[in-house]
């Protein structure tokens, strides 16, 4: 039997460690690919999504005939690609008479399909068709704002799912420190009906206003399109529970013995151990040990022996 070698040193080990599961995860990578037939609309859409996510996206240029995300057998290639490129988000475009301009956005958990949503793209306007002042163009990799408008995003299952996926696709890294000067893009999604949303990408212009907060101005720059939700697949409950788990080390520990009172503020109880009143040695010396007593006793003995000697002499 051949021994399975796992790389132990050097560059390969470092690369493996980058792909290993981590406690707090970094940004998800996206895989962009297309199926048997694509239209020009889809082609430009896929390249533009790639541009928007330049740093952490991989775009495959060949067509993949055997990928059918919604069928049980057709996902194996996708899972293999996700394993090979370490991408947990994928965008798959295909065009057919029954589903024109079809885009399937999906996520993987542990390199197996987690959930999918299939949308049809209508009224697509590409990056190049918008004219604007070039200075406003948003930088690649800046953290975007999101604006979701419409009650559909809360009430309709498909739109709720789409909202979560769009957030996951475009939100970039989770950062704690943010530079306020670097905010320059916003994704606006409006629910037009219970199946259709209008999606657009705008650059932000910050204008001076009287207060600390600048006035925002939106200028449409990016691709804009109507998305019609066609099909979607939600994750299994058990899989979803597992994927949403937070490591126990990260949950805040409850401070013991601290209570907050409205009147007194923070209070804690001080617990004193039992005082053993009977068994502790007293600080006072025992009567016999005291120096005055000892001296007095010695003097007494000397006196008495002197007396005895006198008596003997007299007798």
């Amino acid at each position: 039997m051949m021994k399975i070698k796992t790389p132990k040193k050097g560059r390969i080990k470092r690369d493996l460690e980058k792909r290993a599961p981590k406690l707090v995860e970094t940004a998800k990578k996206t895989l962009i690919l297309h199926g048997t037939k694509t239209s020009s609309v889809l082609n430009s859409l896929l390249t533009e999504i790639y541009h928007l996510k330049k740093d952490n996206a991989v775009k495959y240029s060949r067509r993949n005939d055997n990928i059918r995300p919604f069928e049980s057998g057709g996902e194996t290639s996708l899972e293999f690609f996700s394993l090979k490129t370490d991408c947990s988000l994928f965008v798959f475009g295909s065009h057919s008479k029954k589903r024109p301009n079809n885009l399937v956005i999906g996520r993987t958990y542990d390199h197996h399909i987690y959930d999918l949503v299939e949308i049809g793209v209508e009224n697509f306007k590409s990056l190049n068709s918008f004219t604007y002042d070039k200075k406003l163009a948003p930088q690649i990799g800046s953290k975007p704002f999101f604006a979701f408008i419409g009650e559909g995003f809360e009430s309709v299952e498909e739109l709720k799912h789409l909202k979560e996926i769009l957030l996951d696709l475009f939100h970039g890294e989770v950062v704690t420190n943010l530079n306020l000067a670097g905010l320059d893009r916003v994704y606006v999604c409006t629910a037009v009906s219970s199946t259709k949303i209008f999606f657009t990408h705008c650059a932000l212009r910050l204008k001076k206003s009287g207060t600390v907060v600048p006035r925002m101005e939106l200028v449409e720059v990016g691709p804009s399109m109507d998305m019609v939700v066609r099909r979607h697949r939600l994750p299994d409950d058990s899989l979803r529970k597992e994927a949403m788990k937070i490591a126990p080390e990260l949950t805040k520990k409850k401070e013991k013995n601290v209570t907050k009172d409205a009147i007194q503020g923070k209070i804690g109880k001080i617990y004193i151990p039992d005082q053993k009143v009977g068994s502790v040695a007293l600080p006072h010396k025992a009567k016999g040990v005291k120096r005055e007593r000892r001296e007095a006793k010695m003097k007494d003995e000397v006196h008495r022996s002197a007396d005895k000697k006198q008596k003997q002499h007299s007798e």
Binding site: S88, F148, I149
Partner: protein
């Protein structure tokens, strides 16, 4: 149009308006786009209000703020890491009671 409270997720820089309803007089697409941009501006303004009011520190490139954690939970991409099993030395040290001791840099003669 009612003045509604937008759901704001600062960690993701997201604002969600669940109450907005489009007036049915919108027929042309341009009007829809304009209306969407107007609403979008309002939402982004609301997020920016909350964002710029956070305590900020001055950095080289501009003011930096400490973002709170995002409120919308998104699923992980890989399962939680398992703690790696202790090595043979670590097991032996535990059994023997050997503790790690830090060496002082200064060695006296």
């Amino acid at each position: 149009m009612e003045q509604s409270q937008y759901e704001i997720d600062l960690g993701n820089l997201m604002a969600f308006d669940p109450h907005h309803q489009y007036p049915s007089s919108l027929t042309s697409r341009e009007e829809l786009v304009k209306e969407a941009l107007e609403q979008g501006t309002k939402l982004v303004q609301a997020v920016a209000d909350a964002l710029f009011n956070l305590p900020s520190t001055e950095d080289r490139d501009g003011p930096m703020v400490k973002l709170p954690a995002p409120t919308t939970r998104l699923p992980r991409e890989k399962p939680l890491p398992k703690p790696r099993p202790p090595t043979k030395w670590e097991l032996f040290a535990e059994k023997k009671g050997i503790k790690k001791r830090k060496q002082d840099k200064l060695a006296f003669d």
